[in-house]
């Protein structure tokens, strides 16, 4: 029994260590975002006596916080609006309409899951350059749609396959066309799957870095949050005033933290569902 207690204490200690490792850095960045340089260098842990609120307006200006947040929002929402319908349509056909070549197409989508997409970045970049799609948000959205398809079609396919075929037959007997059956009967029933795919992609796209980094050049007005953060950390050695840099980091954290706090349970379930299906 004694041994059991030791391992229990050790386990709780490990959990505490993890919790602190998450809270402490966020707390430090938050505190520092209200400091001036002198306070930052003299006492890294103390709470500033007089919070320097001006760091935030300065950050919004210099780090172009609003513009970058807006670009990320456009890229994420724009991608989802195209991605979700077309991947649901394709997944449905592949799951419920057997035809010659269907398994080959399924294999094509599946194999897209097996390699990091950055490995094809150079041909993609050359193609985007010749089509004048680099340095545009719609180009980025197009790339995002294409590179989110494999996962989305695969996961949604699993949800559609679980629905009974009798539903389609019944709906068709009621006089619905193939399209009507899909939009009115099958898609609403696959809603849990659509939610999983939407949430999973939303978080992934909001944070997407490699494609945006290559397809949107630095100092472009179309920089998303991740690319903006990269520009900021690269320039930090030339920064004279550190407070606003921390304030900008906090500003970039806030939207995704709100989403996490609101949907934590759902996000945890989604990540697991995405993993086990994917």
């Amino acid at each position: 029994l004694k041994r059991l207690n030791i391992s229990n204490t050790l386990g709780q200690f490990l959990l505490a260590l993890f919790a602190i490792s998450v809270i402490a850095p966020i707390a430090w960045v938050l505190i520092t975002s209200f400091k001036n340089n002198t306070e930052l260098f003299s006492s890294p842990w103390s709470v500033p006596t007089k919070p320097k609120w001006e760091n935030y307006p300065v950050a919004l200006e210099t780090a172009q916080v609003t513009k970058r947040l807006l670009n990320s929002l456009i890229a994420t929402v724009g991608t989802l609006i195209i991605l979700i319908p077309i991947s649901a349509m394709a997944a449905y056909v592949l799951a419920k309409y057997p035809f010659k070549g269907a398994s080959a197409i399924k294999f094509l989508f599946r194999s897209g899951l097996m390699f990091p997409n950055f490995l094809v970045i150079i041909p993609l970049f050359l193609m985007f350059t010749s089509l004048h799609l680099t340095n545009t948000l719609y180009g980025l959205i197009l790339a995002y749609v294409a590179y989110s398809l494999a996962f989305s079609v695969f996961v949604l396919g699993g949800f559609f396959e679980a629905l009974p075929n009798e539903l389609i037959e019944a709906s068709m007997l009621d006089g619905c066309s193939h399209s009507q059956t899909f939009w009115r009967v099958m898609l609403p029933l696959a809603k849990p799957g659509v939610l999983v795919v939407t949430l999973f992609n939303a978080i992934g796209l909001w944070n997407e870095f490699p494609l945006a980094f290559v397809l949107i050049p630095t100092k472009s007005p179309y920089e998303t949050v991740p690319v903006g953060l990269r520009t900021m950390t690269m320039n930090q050695q030339y920064t004279a005033d550190y407070g606003p840099m921390f304030a900008a980091t906090v500003s970039f954290m806030i939207p995704i933290m709100i989403v996490y706090i609101l949907f934590r349970k759902r996000i945890q379930e989604t990540m697991l569902a995405g993993a086990i299906k994917g």
Binding site: R3, G11, Q12, L14, L15, A16, F18, A19, V22, P25, I26, W28, T32, L40, F41, P44, W45, I86, M89, A90, V93, F99, G112, M114, F115, P116, L119, I122, P123, L124, F125, L126, A146, L149, V153, H178, F182, N207, F209, P210, F213, V214, V225, P226, L229, M232, T233, Q236, F246, T249, M253, M257, V259, Y260, R264, Q268, M271, L272, A275, I276
Partner: protein, 302 residues
């Protein structure tokens, strides 16, 4: 509309599959095929003058000392990250089953690093390790680790920070995964084992650990493919430095292609990456071995 049902069905299939399939083939499939061809050419910049050079790009890569460093880092990262992540995740998933205050708080925080994403957490890491004002570098200095240019300016410091940051970012997800695995283990099996006198470490080693087989398999496949996909982490933390000692595959592809405009050589490295990913996937499948519960079941029937 008096189309035959068969025609209607075919039109429906084509119309609904078309948008996704076309987008996928044009923007994923075509560049993928091109990757293999382009690796046989040499050209600089976006120019159209591509020169066929056969396998010369591959020869240059084989002789490139940075490629050797990248390969070492990639393999070391896979092995160490797999061990650390699975070890910590199993321990934490066990600890979470006791509903203490600490457990409840930790559960809420589990996915925070992942949802904030490596982009933000790495930015915060860079701040914390800044030699001028970072709190972690202050602590390290106090303990006696002093490096010029900070921890990230030191070869092994940079490597260790990348490993720690990777494991820390990913860990929460694997805790959830093993938590689900533990939940799926039949209570009766555990009780029966306890009645037989197994407890603590013995119970874990002989019963729980083997029964987690399918979760372990998912975990290994995921860690390995996540390591293959490391890019932002290294870009933000070290950008491969100092002197390419902490560089990894995708970062070196980016360096060769976009910073040095050696597109042919960068594409050839990507091709090597594909084969590497395939071989590693195959090896990790072998390493996990066969399903032990399956063997037992067939032993009973046979």
């Amino acid at each position: 509309m008096s189309l035959r049902p068969r025609t209607r069905r075919n039109l429906f299939i084509a119309g609904y599959l078309g948008p996704a399939l076309l987008t996928y083939l044009v923007f994923v499939g075509y560049p993928l095929i091109q990757t293999f061809f382009l690796s046989l050419y040499s050209w600089r910049g976006v120019s159209e003058n591509k020169k066929f050079v056969g396998l010369r790009n591959y020869e240059l890569l084989a002789k490139d000392p940075i490629v050797h460093k990248v390969a070492f880092n990639q393999i070391a990262m896979m092995v160490l990250a797999t061990i650390l992540i699975i070890g910590f995740a199993v321990a934490m998933a066990h600890a979470l089953r006791r509903r203490t205050f600490v457990a409840k708080v930790t559960e809420v925080l589990l996915l925070t690093p992942q949802v904030l994403s490596v982009v933000i957490t790495s930015t915060v890491f860079v701040f914390m390790l800044n030699p001028k004002y970072g709190i972690v570098s202050n602590i390290l200095n106090a303990v006696g680790f002093k490096y010029d240019g900070g921890v990230l300016g030191n070869e092994w410091g940079a490597k260790i920070v990348i490993l720690v940051a990777f494991v820390w970012n990913a860990l929460g997800f694997y805790v959830l995964l093993f938590g689900a695995g533990l939940k799926s283990i039949d209570e009766e099996v555990l009780e029966a084992a306890q009645l037989d006198g197994a407890g603590g470490w013995k119970l874990f080693k002989n019963v729980t650990w083997p029964l987690l087989w399918s979760v372990k398999k998912v975990a290994v496949v995921y860690v390995v493919s996540n390591v293959m996909g490391i890019f932002a982490l290294v870009t933000f933390l070290t950008n491969g430095g100092p002197g390419d000692t902490s560089n990894m595959l995708l970062n070196y592809v980016q360096r060769l292609g976009f910073d040095q405009t050696r597109f042919g050589r960068a594409v050839a490295l990507a091709v090597l990456g594909f084969f590497f990913a395939m071989i590693v996937g195959w090896i990790s499948n072998l390493a996990i071995g066969k399903d032990p519960t399956k063997a037992r079941k067939s032993a009973v029937t046979g």
